[in-house]
Subunit: 282 residues, 2 copies
């Protein structure tokens, strides 16, 4: 049997790291946008086991973790088509893990529930320190507020009612999530600023407020590089609003013409839309 | 300002009625399918207040309840375009209430969160006895298992990982939900059978099992009329599977050719697909 699943990309605007000895309960609070660009994974039982990302065999640690957790030694060919940059704060590792889990479930007829599969993807992220909360967003669609940390069934969410707005982004470089979330100094600033942002967002859960609070978070935590700050200011000078995708050297922007963004000269501009579908079978 | 929102239709396959003095905690356990056909509602502030369903002014009790709860006396013109039959177990009242709540939030700039709006729609259903659980499904998309009753933020769900399967349905007539869920005799049978079905589904959360358990529920509770049973058997004779949409004199079927269903002569066949988007802004 062949299993095929799609998991959307996800941009976190701000977050707070929440440690826990149980990886299903570890995660983050915060808020992010689910995107209609993501990862499509096809799984079939094969003669050997491998993971191919856009046609090239790769280590793909987080997806590999999911395969090890679910396939129980079966040989599976995993092929992922990735529409989003990797390591740039677009939730690629979470989308890879989720789409792999859902496709494997069908290919191996595992009969797992949605929450069981999503929980395995969340734990894969946490164990590999590639993410803390994207998977929760990617299970739902829309603009997802993570009120309590953890995998689906453990964490708690709300959402900002939002249209399928176009989101432009410029990925200027990768930042290893692991380095940031395991640094004590960074974590302290993140948690002070992230907690404050969440409280303010819950008082006024609008998309405009989310953009404003995300920018404040990027500056306060000093996670925004100088070129990220320059790009944010260029967007604002054109009348739009922007912030940094957590965690990558990536700017995302709304309410701006694509042409204006291209002219700003910060690199290749990509477009996606707010997506109301979470991970699902194809 | 104009607000526009879409809420999907929803077919419950089986359920258990869960009473509670707090309407946010009252609801049902069970499982149902979210459909890509539903209700689109547009709201704008106007000179007078009315609700129009497909161009005709109607009482629309459940949506009216939502307007009263949210509009605080403001005059609003509410126009809903309905793609699903009303009163036939397709979740029309829930979709009307949800899309009205989300559109109103934008039109009146209420700045409510997704969960706040969805909770109001759930309470509107419960108070008017037009439904007990559809709203929870319609918030999520997919094939939604309601493990614990109540509004979003109170209830608890899981899902069956499912493709965007085509679902055919034949609405043969309306059954007032209120009459069924307030009848002591019906309720007893519903709760015995529904509880058993949920337990069996959680042991094997697959779409095939959902169809099988839904049919068993429809027969055991004697909610299926003789023509519903005849239609289910006709579908099975053609190699498909079918059950009854709760609560309506409606049969839904999968894994069958539309032509075979039309030939069966039970009335107009409509098609929708499993939808992975819950209620959202347009």
């Amino acid at each position: 049997m062949i299993g095929r699943a799609f998991a959307p990309g996800h941009i976190t605007g701000f977050f707070e790291i929440c440690d826990h000895s149980d990886p299903r309960k570890m995660g983050s609070r915060g808020c992010g946008i689910v995107l209609d660009a993501g990862i499509t994974t096809e799984v079939k039982v094969g003669a050997e086991s491998f993971i191919e990302l856009n046609g090239r065999r790769e280590k793909a640690e987080t997806s590999r973790w999911v395969v090890n957790a679910l396939a129980a030694g079966a040989r599976v060919e995993v092929r992922s088509r990735i529409e989003i940059p990797v390591g740039c704060g677009l939730g690629a590792s979470g989308a890879g893990a989720l789409s792999t889990a859902f496709a494997l479930n069908r290919a191996l007829d595992l009969k797992k529930s949605f929450n069981e599969l999503a929980s395995i993807a969340h734990v894969a992220e946490v164990e590999n320190r590639t993410g803390l909360g994207s998977v929760m967003g990617q299970c739902h669609g829309g603009v997802v507020i993570r009120k309590q940390p953890g995998a689906i069934g453990f964490g708690e969410i709300d959402r900002i009612p939002a249209e399928a707005l176009p989101i432009f982004y410029i990925a200027m470089g990768a930042i290893p999530t692991k380095e940031v979330i395991t640094s004590t100094a960074a974590k302290k600033k993140i948690n002070i600023s992230g907690k404050k942002a969440l409280r303010a967002l819950l008082r006024e859960p609008t998309f405009e407020n989310f953009m404003e609070l995300s920018k404040k978070f990027a500056y306060e935590t000093e996670l925004a590089s100088s070129r990220v700050r320059d790009a944010i200011e260029a967007v604002e000078a054109s009348g739009g609003s922007a912030s940094m995708a957590m965690i990558g050297d990536t700017v995302f922007a709304v309410n701006i013409e694509e042409a204006a963004l291209r002219k700003s000269g910060f690199g290749g501009v990509k477009k996606a839309c707010v997506c109301h579908e979470g991970v699902h079978m194809l």
